[in-house]
């Protein structure tokens, strides 16, 4: 169960492929020989102690961080210094941040319609229609014309999810989406994410919510010291009968 577990999903091509990827921050080796394949519609949960490189890994996938060695192929396009490739990959990947990062000077509606209008060149009507649909889906249509500063944390994060979805991405990246939220609000955000997973979105989720991982994930990855230590389906991963890598066991003992 260690090393590469090949997720069998018919003959489908993987939508994300990382091969022998390495990254350094100065002298610090954050990502070491990461090789990873993600299939379309797969929900991948990445767990691990802080500083293990999980956030950096998903931030490399939409080029918020630059990898220095190895290859990343997203949706058939290789990530390089080619700005056109980067732009194309970013169009197809949505991202949700720990700190929401909504644009404070724009209304909820404008936050959501900005990218579809500027990047996808949609008409305003279409973008606003799509925004309202998404706000219904995350259950806050009545907040459409408020500013982010007027919303609660949970509402802001749901707007952030709607904003990412407005671009109709093929892949969604979640970087600790519930870590900055009050306990009560975590549930409302997780519910939205679960619903999203059911619709067949390809999702990479960095989180500490083990309940979410157990319930929704197709595969769980444990990272430590910049390496993928162990991966497998959640029923195996969280089963007490399985013999884990000692580092994984240590981590699980602490959080479960």
């Amino acid at each position: 169960m260690q090393e590469t577990s090949t997720q069998v999903m018919a003959s489908d091509e993987p939508i994300i492929t990382c091969r022998e990827m390495n990254k350094w921050f100065g002298d610090f080796h954050v990502l070491r020989n990461i090789s990873l394949e993600v299939m379309p519609q797969e929900v991948l949960v990445i767990i691990g102690p802080s500083g293990s490189g999980k956030s950096t890994l998903i931030r490399c996938i939409n080029r918020l961080e630059e990898h220095q060695d190895g290859t990343i192929i997203v949706n058939g396009i290789e990530l390089s210094h080619d700005v056109q490739n980067i732009a194309e990959i970013r169009r197809e990947t949505g991202m949700v941040f720990q700190q929401f990062n909504l644009f404070p000077h724009l209304t909820v509606m404008d936050n959501i319609t900005l990218a579809p209008m500027k990047v996808r060149h949609w008409a305003r009507d279409r973008a606003e229609q799509r925004a309202m649909d998404l706000l219904e889906r995350v259950e806050i249509p009545e907040q459409a014309f408020k500013y982010p500063g007027q919303l609660s944390g949970g509402q802001q994060q749901r707007v952030a999810i709607a904003r990412a979805l407005a671009m109709e991405p093929k892949i969604m990246l979640f970087d600790e989406p519930t870590s900055a939220l009050d306990p009560e609000m975590i549930k409302e955000v997780l519910d939205v994410m679960k619903e999203l997973a059911r619709t067949g979105m390809t999702m990479l989720v960095v989180t500490h919510e083990m309940g979410f991982a157990r319930e929704v994930a197709d595969r769980v990855i444990f990272m430590d010291m910049g390496r993928i230590v162990e991966q497998g389906p959640p029923e195996n991963f969280f089963s007490p009968d399985i013999v884990h890598h000692p580092r994984t066991q240590e981590f699980l003992d602490q959080i479960l």
Partner: protein, 505 residues
Amino acid sequence: MAMQRDSRQSANLLPAVFRDARILQGISQLIFVVVVVMVMNNLGFRINSALEATNQTPNFEFLQNRAGFDLADSGDYTSRDRYIDAFRVGFINTLRVVLLGLVATTVIGIMVGIFLLSRNFLLRTLSRSYVEVLRNTPVLLQIFAWFYIVIFALPPQQESIAFPQEGIRSLPLLQYAFSLLVIALIWQYSNSLRRPAWRTGVRQVGIAIVVLVNLLGVVLIGAGTPIEFLPGIYISIKGVAIFELIPSSLFGVWMVFVVIGIVVAILLWRYFGYITETTGQPIAKTRIALVALVGFILVGWLIMGMRPTPSIITVYDDENEEFVDLSYDDAFESGRLTIEQELEYTRQPIIFRPPTLDRRGRNVETGIEISPSYLAVFLGVVIYTSSFIAEVVRAGIQAVPKGQLEASRALGLSRGDMLRLVVLPQALRVIIPPLGNQFLNLSKNSSLAIAVAYTDIYQVTFTIINQSGQSVTGILMVLLAYLLISLCISLVMNLVNQRFQLVTR
């Protein structure tokens, strides 16, 4: 328990009215106002009686008296005018520094501020040195430095540095403008071509033809006759003399074209904006609007150029000391047209008039003269303030959280859209209040003009006070003048600031 009751009882010794926080606040404010009024009243009385004793009661009547002193940088003002006229000269001179200075310092400050964040090492280091040197030395010293640079480093007026050096003979100005317009149109057209090879091909061939026509000196029909540029700027110890642009008799008609051009440009800009909103199709609306505007202005100029000129015009021949009749073009070529005749009969809406010296080579006869004092004050306050504005701009841009940039990138926004739609609105929120402070600093620092004898409001009023002895009135008037300027700046900046406030709970 008992102790608590005791303390309550002792507090109750004061009547309830005097324990009410609101009433206590009211009383203390009342006392403060009374004290201030008393002190001011007393001071005013003492000053008044002291001045009465020397027969100098403050009044405003003296302003109507003859000033009797000359002023530099004063336009039509002479020593025969009244004090109030001298005061007006000073006020206008201060405004000349402040208004132009605000524009210049903002432009320079924003540029340097952006350079401070540049990835280019040289640019970053140079702009950093600029800021550190200029904001860490006194502005008075800088004004003196500029003044001495002008006085000591520049040649006497007879040997002025001219720009362009010997003047330039060139094709008609209009032809260059047309060439640029044609290139813009070719560019616009080539953008609509699908194949990249065709796009670059059309561009290269088109531009090559335009450049070739100009290089060969082919004058297009209607573009006018080739012109000779005399040097437009002279720099010397006496300051800077700059060419004048004088509106001719055709100016009004030409302005109609300009106004129509502006209206059409705005309508086009709005229309294409609306198209983008409703269809999503991206259109370079600003570029289209600009091309339309420039087009209207040029076509207007061209049509003005078709006005027939008088076939015979009477001019004075200096050499033979007699009046002769010439055709307009001959008269123009020989330089015998008076400025009035030229303004009346020219084919151009605006006449370019290079600076010339009078016969003795001392004074500037035509053109705009800028005195060394004005230059020193202007450069001093503008450059000094720009270094602070640069820091304000840099800090404002850096104050936008990194997360905002990451969110914009993750959504796939282009760099330009990110800066325009996400970074700038948030940076301006931080930049505008301290920017207003710097504007106020500039307007107040302009009073240092007295150090280099620039006749600003402070310097003029000082002279008035010395002559008339009306110190209280004089000081009051300067105070009010600066207050007026500062309040106007504050008002504008507050209005701007309101637009950028964030809505929060």
